[in-house]
């Protein structure tokens, strides 16, 4: 019983399940920090997963697959940017549209190109990011605690998992230690201040949504060509929205984002292992409780009952120079 909650396999799958969330969550972080609300993370991930799987299948090259995933997600990001930055359209509506477009196009093109009911064929060798065994993992396994931690938890993930967790300090550094990050944070809080400082609000926001697209590309590619061996219709299954929830839960901060994604990944990992198990003293906890928990926690946070999630002040509002 204890194993379900605390064991290396559980933690291992927590890290794996948290990875796509983390990519998508950081993607949303860049976009929303710049003042562009993005509920289209789900669609971009899905599009990227399809692009990655298709190209990885055709080229048998995982890296080209990743690149294709990024291209697809960035294209959708630019569409979102065109609607919400250039045309000052409603960002929520644009996000909803992108989710539908991605859901429809991936399945439609998948069927048209591969004829397997929206799936892509199983990936050939080289088309997939495989698990990497870190150096000396086998030798270390016998060392108690640290060694086992190294061998069983740190070692044995695909390169994208390491990438996701490295993206956290990188994002923190970009956001808080670079010129671009300073301006990005500023434009989400007060675009007028950025404008009067002689910086283009439009260009800045476009760069933010492009980064968002790149990270969504990683998230989708991970799902299709690292975690699985191919694209399956609707394979994101709401992960984009969990990532959005995690972003709110993290109060738009990178390190918190990682912790939130790990928490939600952990809940998912436990839920899988809980099927049919019962906890002594409590009895059988329905798996749906774990599935719903990320959303419930986010709503409670949004309600301000545990801390307050305050989004960037200008998020969701198209910038228009005001007539004084």
């Amino acid at each position: 019983m204890f194993d379900i909650f605390f064991s290396y396999p559980t933690f291992d799958s927590m890290a794996r399940l948290a990875t796509p969330l983390l990519f998508a969550c950081l993607a949303g972080l860049y976009s929303e920090r710049s003042g562009v609300v993005d509920i289209g993370l789900e669609g971009k991930m899905l599009g990227a997963a399809f692009g990655a799987a298709s190209v990885a299948f055709l080229t048998a090259n995982a890296w080209l697959g990743l690149l294709a995933g990024i291209v697809v997600a960035v294209s959708l990001s630019l569409l979102h940017g065109f609607a919400s930055i250039t045309n000052r359209g409603n960002q929520i509506v644009s996000g909803v549209a992108i989710n539908f477009l991605a859901a429809g196009l991936t399945a439609l093109l998948g069927q048209a190109w591969f004829g397997q009911g929206g799936r892509t064929p199983s990936l050939p060798a080289g088309g997939r990011f495989l698990e990497i065994t870190l150096p000396f993992a086998e030798e270390m396994a016998s060392v108690p605690f640290i060694g086992r931690f190294y061998a069983e938890f740190l070692s044995g993930h695909s390169i994208l998992v390491y990438g996701a967790f490295l993206a956290v300090p990188l994002t923190w550094w970009v956001l808080f230690r670079t010129r671009f990050g300073l301006r990005l944070r500023a434009v989400g809080e007060s675009p007028a201040a950025v404008d009067t400082a002689g910086i283009s609000v439009t260009f800045l926001r476009y760069r933010a949504v492009i980064i968002c697209g790149i990270l969504c590309g990683f998230a989708g590619a991970y799902l299709a060509i690292a975690q699985s061996s191919g694209f399956i219709k609707d394979m994101t299954a709401g992960k984009g929205f969990i990532a959005l929830a995690a972003l709110i839960f993290a109060k738009w901060k990178p390190v918190n984002a990682m912790l939130a994604c790990l928490l939600f990944g952990y809940l998912d990992a436990v839920a899988i292992r809980m099927q049919g198990q019962s906890i002594p003293g409590i009895g059988e906890v329905p798996v749906q409780v774990f599935q719903a928990l990320p959303y419930v926690l986010t709503v409670i946070l949004l309600a301000g009952f545990i801390g307050k999630a305050i989004p960037p002040k200008a998020s969701g509002i198209p910038y228009l120079k005001e007539r004084t």
């Binding site: 569409l79 609607a83 960002q91 859901a103 429809g104 959303y295 949004l302």
Partner: protein, 372 residues
């Protein structure tokens, strides 16, 4: 003032038409990309949805769902609220339908059950909208995000309930027992025997949906509450000036919206499936967003848009049968494009149009009389 203005007919007619045309043109492009003939696709779509009785029946059946969810989104829009939770509210609305049917179907005829079903589904949908509404009104939590979260919470809750609580005993299927006659709405075929809808499950809920559309029109444009809703949506400061409580209107509007979404379940559960089962909403709640945007928030527009989407869903099914490469997912693409062009890019063509109109008007150099 006059610069940048378009005549009313252009604003209300031309721009939506352009947006819709753009959406369908891009859809046609997608069809070309997958190597099929767009004209043939349109022909099959039209024939599949309107070409024979059963096709029309299915079109109307789907349209019934979309009228309800479209109205739900539109009512909230009028108060300046974006209810993305139609999906979850409709799902939970199914509980209300099932509760009334399971309790009454063996004792009374359907027309006794129906009022309880209406009440139950609307109450369940409204209740599911209440928490996001309350959080928006009292705690300022953004209703868009909370309703998204509530869609997922609803999905988990319904699976749990259907598997563990109200599921049919001795069955692994996550569904309730099938309702007896007292829990089944009459098919339109039975009411209008002269029209052959074939096996299409179009049923009495269509009339209920049309009544609801009329009701929403009455509510928004003819009642004091509707006046308050529109005032809040158009100018929140003026609403406070007028002594309208934003918190109260937000909660009431969202509950009406949730109630309408919940009533969608009547069509699916009492009208067609005759049992409560998982995922019966299957995205119809989201279609409501496209329908409301396309119908520009007006019940007449919504009914028309719902029929158009009904055609897409039914015609799309025929299409997938006739041209296997064009699967039903094509509908999702069209839906996305309609939302994109009619919603997010609503004003894309506007500046160009304004320029054209201004140019056309300049030689006469007449000042528009109304504006001065």
């Amino acid at each position: 003032m006059s610069a940048g203005q378009l005549p009313r007919w252009a604003d209300l007619g031309l721009i939506p038409l352009l947006n819709l045309t753009a959406a369908f043109l891009v859809s046609g492009l997608v069809v070309l990309i997958i190597g099929e003939n767009p004209i043939e696709v349109v022909q099959i779509l039209l024939w599949g949805s309107l070409g024979f009785g059963e096709g029309i029946g299915f079109t109307l059946f789907y349209a019934t769902n979309f009228i309800f969810t479209g109205l739900a989104v539109a009512v909230a829009f009028h108060a300046g609220l974006f209810n993305i939770g139609g999906e979850g509210q409709a799902y939970v609305g199914g509980l209300g339908v099932a509760a009334a049917c399971l309790l009454l179907d063996r004792i009374v005829p359907w027309w006794v059950t129906l009022p309880f079903v209406i009440l139950g589904s609307a109450a369940a949908g409204a209740a599911w909208a209440f928490i996001p509404a309350w959080l928006q009104a009292k705690r300022g939590s953004h209703v868009v995000i909370t309703t998204i979260m509530f869609n997922f919470i609803a999905a988990s809750m319904m699976v749990y309930l259907l598997v563990n609580v109200i599921g049919k005993e001795g069955s692994m299927q996550p569904e309730t027992r099938t309702f007896e006659d007292g829990g089944r709405l009459p098919m339109l075929n039975d009411i209008f025997p002269f029209f052959d809808f074939g096996t299409a499950p179009v049923n009495l809920s269509l009339l209920l949906a049309l009544l609801s559309a009329f009701g929403v029109w009455l509510l928004i444009w003819r009642t004091r509450l509707g006046y308050a809703i529109r005032t809040l949506g158009a100018n929140a400061t003026a609403a406070v000036y007028a002594g309208i409580s934003p918190a109260r209107i937000i909660i009431i509007t969202m509950m009406i919206s949730g109630g309408l979404a919940g009533m969608m379940a009547i069509n699916e559960i009492m009208g067609s499936q005759h049992r409560l089962l998982i995922e019966f909403v299957s995205g119809y709640g989201f279609v409501g967003i496209a329908v409301a945007l396309m119908g520009r928030g007006h019940p007449v527009g919504i009914v028309l848009a719902a029929i158009l989407f009904g055609m897409l869903y039914q015609g799309g099914a025929e299409l997938a049968f006739e041209i296997p490469a064009v699967t039903r997912d094509m509908i999702l693409v069209i839906q996305g494009l309609v939302i994109l062009f009619a919603g997010a890019l609503e004003y894309m063509f506007r500046p160009t149009l304004v320029r054209i109109f201004t140019f056309a008007r300049t030689p006469a150099s007449s000042v528009p009389a109304a504006a001065k």
